[in-house]
Subunit: 348 residues, 3 copies
């Protein structure tokens, strides 16, 4: 057994510790194709090399979430193999496009620790940074997970809870270098709506639904080299069901949001995200969005929408699951799968 | 709701109207791999870059149906989102190979309109044209669909029914520029049979069968950015089953036809096609072909077979479902899924 | 029927006969992505172009088993379409890396024949050689299968049983040209263990399990253009289940073995392999390995481990299914799926 990775337990983490995660991963055109086969995405930038070039991309980027999932997957064996729960994300900024040929590596720094009062587990905060093979930061994010202790008698570390922003400030959003939306082709993109057409508080029902299968979520989760057992092994949970990777629901909901948000082309930041309840094969996933904020950025023609993306099991036509800005107080209605708060770049 | 695409209804279509469909799509080597994972295809041209080069292809083309599905998928949000039924295809000509790196766009022109006598729906004929990013026409085809009216009181348009050819004339078939079958390697292609070995009226049982799964047809249908709800959402039909995209059956039957038609390398035209009955996960699909015509073309060594490709649920060893040339009079035996009439290029 | 391939029967094989298998197949980056979606592989060489380059690979190779499956798939229509059973492999040597852009062809020579005493079938031994489009041998292997006779009255051929090595000798292992493990990055590869850290007789439980689905094994098997009916058609077996391609279990077990053997980067040879019992959707596959031998090779920093890789249905924590070196005497415990004996290259 000694040769296999048992993962880190709560007492293995030390404040300031830096972990270089293994198995850098080269992105290919195969990833683009698989992403499009697994999620019903039609955003024009990842779909069309010509559309991307028309906005100033020098090479054809893949969807931002491809980079996110790969970077996240790398952290699982070291950070969350013994996780009780993924508690949250914050300050996730997409800083550089990911293109086929780029090799992604991830490292994490432990930025917070707090043992639980039961003495059997604790919360670990890490800031993870993904870079490409030229050393450019692709994205970084903070994440906190509750992790088991190996030894309940291990001493509790000093409590350090990092101060994380509730929202990435608009001035901290990164527009990829050289990008302009000044000559944006709304016809090719699929919808006419620009920044000013969206009102804060507006909600958009994305209408379509997709019923999950085990084969598809496993293909996706493996593609990101995410090794968490519960996604693959029917013996890993008492109910014999394979838990769908939370990121699968993020990508599915984002793809569904094309219908109504086709011009919210690029994800610039993820402010927060909660995997409210588990999803399984047979569930039919729908999504709706709420506009939380809108700002103009300096890059030519570029604005940003702050969006709340809610994925539900079954079609939630009411779109009124809880008050905006409410905290995660357990008041989510049954059937809510995901509550994600992010910034998207859109033509103004 | 106003931001999402509700699709066009019958009264939204106007004779002569041109619709530029959204989200151009760049083809990649990932599409080739996925096509080969989803369908049991072994045709030597898409399988081997060297075989393709030996026939004169300057770059390695993907299967013709990859172009067809992508081009067709683009039309769904505008043409058939509110379709009651896909009634037929005609005059589909493959004019230029599709290669990884090509970006496909599609536009459609409304060429016919006829309201149904019930006043609640009508038939729309469109001619759709797919071009690559250099402006070359990749394929074009006519298609007619029955579409719901939004408002039953909307006035009926003047009846215009286009005159469509029952068969693409051999002189209108396009052999890709520079292609010669003069040095064709039958050993590498897998079978010794050439044009003259096939007799008009001959029927070929393709023997093998494939049992459908939901995951696979959804992966395929998404890959083509086809958004029709019935393929993905178990709530979209009263029986809770996901309807398999008709094009999935076309590709599956075509791939099965390798066994007996390995040298029918390239699809040059689709004359007609009927999705006779719906297919679902669990159905086992078989196929047989009938030779309808054979002609010699001008390109070196190139001939064309006109083939009827019939896909059935279960193995139809009789291969005698209806008379050749019979019209779609509802006399198909139970279990017929597809009746496709096409031209394939084959060495003579 | 005469146009379709009925496969060869026992009496069709002649000693010394050479069969050039059809449909050469070009490998692409799409194959890499699909391999990573279907199997939980994380080996650093196929995962990262930079890691591969750091070892001296001039282009980014795909996993060795991609080449194996493609090469093997080519032989199925000619060798094993009428097989009663795949009896074994031997002397499989991986001689040249497979890279996207390489086109693989396979030919086989009949090297042994022995009719069974019942007169209804016989054993055929073939040596198959896969080459790339530049003529370099990618891999070769011997295989023997039991094949039906078409005509029980066909005369029995002279018995020739080839002399095959039980193990590929270390001096016959091929290290790809120019490869050095002298500057191997253990951190990037995921584990610190080198050749000397493994003891002969040591057993490693790879811990993780994957539950099989029909969609996934069919996608994989089609990708390799393997046409054996039992993998795809629920009507092909009395129990209505689709038999999982044996090579799917090899790839799955090899991928699971990353956990504990992350530095066993490259498969150099397969000495022997038995598909002990059939696998089906719903089975959860685990794997364990035993170190059978370890040797130092001449290439800089390169050693080789001879490993026994055992795949089981369910988790076999005892890892003591039979004595090492025992012959295939039917004494495998229930639940053993695969018993594979191979050489892997590892830093020393």
């Amino acid at each position: 057994m000694s040769k296999t990775n048992a993962g880190n337990f709560f007492e293995d983490f030390v404040l300031g510790q830096v972990i270089e995660h293994a198995t850098p991963r080269t992105v290919t055109e195969g990833d683009r194709a698989l992403y499009g086969a697994i999620y019903p995405t039609r955003f024009a930038v990842p779909s069309s090399a010509q559309f991307a070039a028309s906005l100033g991309f020098d090479r054809h980027p893949v969807e931002e979430l491809v980079g996110f999932h790969i970077a996240f997957g790398k952290t699982v064996p070291d950070i969350s193999l013994n996780a009780v729960a993924n508690l949250g994300y914050a300050e996730c900024r997409f800083q550089h496009p990911v293109r086929p040929g780029d090799t992604i590596s991830t490292r994490s720094e432990v930025i917070g620790l707090k043992e639980n009062s039961n003495g059997r587990s604790g919360v670990v905060w890490v800031r993870s940074t993904a870079t490409n093979h030229r050393g450019a930061v692709v994205l970084d994010w903070a994440r906190w997970v509750m992790v088991h202790k190996r030894d309940v008698d291990a001493p509790a570390p000093e409590i350090v809870v990092p101060d994380l922003a509730a929202v990435v400030a608009p001035e901290d959003l990164v527009v990829p270098h050289g990008i302009s939306f000044a000559a944006y082709d709304f016809g090719a993109a699929g919808e006419p709506h620009r920044l000013g057409d969206y009102e804060v508080g507006e909600r958009i029902d994305h209408v379509d639904g997709v019923t999950l299968t085990d084969a598809e979520h496993m293909l996706a989760t493996r593609l990101w080299q995410n090794t968490a057992k519960v996604h693959f092994n029917t013996d890993a949970r008492p109910d014999g069901r394979r838990l769908v990777y939370g990121g699968h629901i993020i990508s599915l909901a984002r793809a569904l949001s094309f219908n109504g948000l086709a011009n919210a082309q690029l994800i610039a930041a993820i402010n927060a995200g909660s995997h409210v309840s588990p999803a399984f094969a047979g569930d039919t996933v729908h999504a709706w969005s709420e506009v939380l904020d809108r700002v103009e950025l300096e890059a030519p023609g570029v604005g940003a929408l702050r969006l709340r993306l809610v994925a539900t099991k079954g079609h939630d036509e009411s779109m009124t699951l809880r008050q905006v800005g409410g905290d995660n107080d357990g008041k989510y209605a049954d059937g809510v799968l995901l509550d994600l708060d992010y910034w998207a770049l859109i033509p103004r």
